[in-house]
């Protein structure tokens, strides 16, 4: 039915609508008129009540009735849309034409009509619709009329498309994920094999380290043994040599006492010389013992105030008032053994005083920190030492003056070197004739500590 209230032809099958057979009535029967109006109303109601667009196609004439909603859905006014099949075709999406008409054909062959296609709206956009319908046939089975509805499934199609897109994205991500996982596994394998290789390397190095440690221990033991031998030797030697020396000294003394007046002067002098040499030999023996012991102290490390240590030494040399011994106020406090350091300073300061060519002289002590070691210097403004002898003076029993004139045994610097080197340090001399002498040596145990003021 259309809006203009024109009466429609009622196809035979439409009699179902009314629930009555159409055969019993003819046109213009007032009952028929009423029935028609009823039917028209029902039609209109149905068409208006549904949310789908309705179409009604007369196959013979090719005209199609489109419901208001049909046109409204597509955004058209009634006069903008011809009531033809062509109108439908022109608005059908090109990709859907073939499929749609194939569905119509299938339907005419007996299949239900249920197809989705896109129609172009007035604004130019295509919208998806689901079209369902049914048809009537004539006696020969040829289709006469087909009618149905279109249902906007655009929303659904959109959601479907989005789902598909999401699915694709998800699959893509899954693929990426798997690819990443595979790469991770590969990296893992790679890492493991590298760790294995590295572990092997480390094991080997550890082995080597252990071996060298063992060797070190053996060397240390050997060294200990040799040192002990040296100690023993030095001790025994000095003791066993002391006895006859004492005897010689006694006899010399007795001869002197008993032969006063009996000996010519030269012989008296000889006896003096004898005494002298005996004295010297005893000093040499004591020096040997000292040298053997040097650097073999028990390593008890305590904080040592080097300033106080040196000042004590200076006091013990006080007999020489003319001598000026300077040292800085901030001498460091070292974690070390005091005995060896005392020995070194005693020897160096004593030497400076002993070998000075003037009654007055000056000794200056300095220091600086170098990492965990201290660098000490002992300088005197004495005569200096010819560079020719710089190496020699550190050897045992080396003196640079005739042996009779010197009190010392000439072992002082040898001891200094042995002690300093036993502490892992170095000692060297900086001197030239007429330019004074500076001894430099390094010592461990420096932690930046200063004496508490």
């Amino acid at each position: 039915m259309d809006d203009t209230n024109k009466p429609c032809q009622i196809p035979k099958g439409l009699a179902d609508f009314s629930g009555e057979s159409s055969d019993t009535h003819s046109d213009n029967d007032p009952l028929v008129e009423t029935k028609l109006r009823e039917l028209q109303q029902r039609c209109e109601l149905c068409a208006a009540g549904t949310s789908d667009g309705i179409w009604d196609w007369d196959l013979a004439t090719g005209t199609v009735w489109y419901s208001d909603l049909f046109l409204r859905i597509l955004g058209y006014a009634r006069d903008e849309w011809p009531a033809t099949v062509e109108a439908f075709n022109e608005h059908l999406h090109p990709e859907d034409i073939k499929r749609t008409w194939e569905a119509v054909d299938r339907h005419f062959k007996g299949e239900p009509f249920d197809v989705a296609y896109r129609l172009k709206r007035k604004d130019g956009n295509f919208v998806w619709f689901r079209s369902r319908g049914t048809s009537t046939r004539d006696g020969d089975g040829r289709p006469l009329r087909m009618a149905g509805s279109i249902q906007s499934i655009d929303e659904r199609k959109r959601v479907e498309a989005e789902l598909r897109k999401l699915n694709e994205a998800l699959q893509h991500e899954a693929a990426e994920r798997i690819a990443a996982q595979t790469m991770l596994e590969k990296l893992n394998e790679d890492l493991e094999s590298r760790v294995e290789a590295r572990t092997r390397e480390l094991k080997e190095s550890l082995e080597q380290l252990r071996d060298s440690e063992k060797r070190n221990q053996e060397y240390t033991r050997e060294l200990e043994r040799q040192n002990q031998d040296l100690d023993e030797f030095a001790y025994v030697a000095s003791h066993d040599l002391k006895a006859p020396l004492r005897g010689i000294r006694s006899v010399t003394g007795w001869l002197r006492e008993d032969c006063v007046g009996l000996l010519p002067e030269a012989s008296q002098g000889h006896l003096d010389d004898l005494q002298n040499r005996v004295d010297r030999m005893e000093r040499l023996l004591a020096a040997i013992l000292e040298y053997a012991r040097a650097g073999r102290y028990a390593e008890t490390r305590l904080p040592v105030d080097t300033g106080a240590l040196v000042r004590n030494i200076i006091e013990s040399f006080e007999s020489n008032h003319a001598f000026e011994i300077n040292l800085p106020d901030d001498m460091p406090v070292l974690d070390t053994a005091a005995e060896p350091l005392l020995q070194v300073f005693q020897n160096l300061i004593g030497n400076a005083i002993k070998h000075h060519d003037c009654e007055e002289g000056r000794v200056s002590i300095g220091w600086r920190g170098e990492g965990n070691r201290v660098h000490f210097s002992v300088h005197d403004n004495g005569p200096g030492i010819d560079p020719r002898f710089h190496k020699k003076i550190f050897q045992m029993f080396q003196t640079l003056r005739p042996r009779d004139e010197v009190e010392g045994s000439g072992i002082g610097l040898a001891i200094v070197r042995r002690v300093v080197e036993s502490q892992g340090g170095v000692v060297r001399i900086d001197s030239a004739l007429g330019r004074g002498t500076t001894f430099h040596f390094t010592w461990p145990g420096y932690h930046g500590k200063r004496p508490n003021a």
Binding site: A243, G247, V251, G253
Partner: protein, 152 residues
């Protein structure tokens, strides 16, 4: 030589048994006594075996109390410590007064000597020039101290 104004009131002067193998050390001690005009008899044994033989009167010579022993530790055949050990084991000789006079200043030697109950330990180097201090000390000792009596 016996000096009746010194020594024990019973007129026995104290004998000194010097156990020492160095002849010059022996002579030094003799000279020191002479210089100090101390005339007590000095007997010399060259080592521990000799010394025991003298003390036990095995040489045929009598050796009566009172006496002091001056002992060196470094000797051949029997060392000073071995001699001391045997001395203290001998019933008749165990209460002998012994002074050690030796070269060693080693703590170990000193301890061993005192473990064997010596009366004193002296180091030769510190005993004074020509043993003068030593002689002085011994002289005072046997004048003031009561020595162990005869046991027989």
């Amino acid at each position: 030589m016996p000096d009746l104004t010194r020594g024990q009131p019973d007129a026995n002067t104290v004998k000194l048994l010097l156990v020492e193998d160095d002849t010059l050390d022996v002579e030094a001690i003799r000279r020191a006594f002479r210089k100090a005009r101390i005339g007590n008899p000095i007997h010399v044994a060259r080592d521990g075996i000799d010394a025991l033989s003298i003390l036990r009167e095995e040489t045929g010579e009598p050796f009566r109390r009172p006496y002091l022993i001056l002992l060196d530790l470094n000797m051949p055949r029997m060392s000073g410590i071995e001699f001391l050990s045997e001395l203290r084991d001998d019933e008749r000789l165990r209460d002998s007064i012994v002074f050690v006079l030796t070269t060693s200043d080693d703590d170990k030697d000193i301890m061993q000597a005192y473990d064997n109950l010596v009366a004193g330990y002296m180091v030769k180097a510190k005993a004074g020039e020509d043993f003068v201090k030593l002689i002085g000390m011994l002289d005072h000792y046997w004048r003031i101290v009561e020595l162990p009596p005869d046991r027989t």
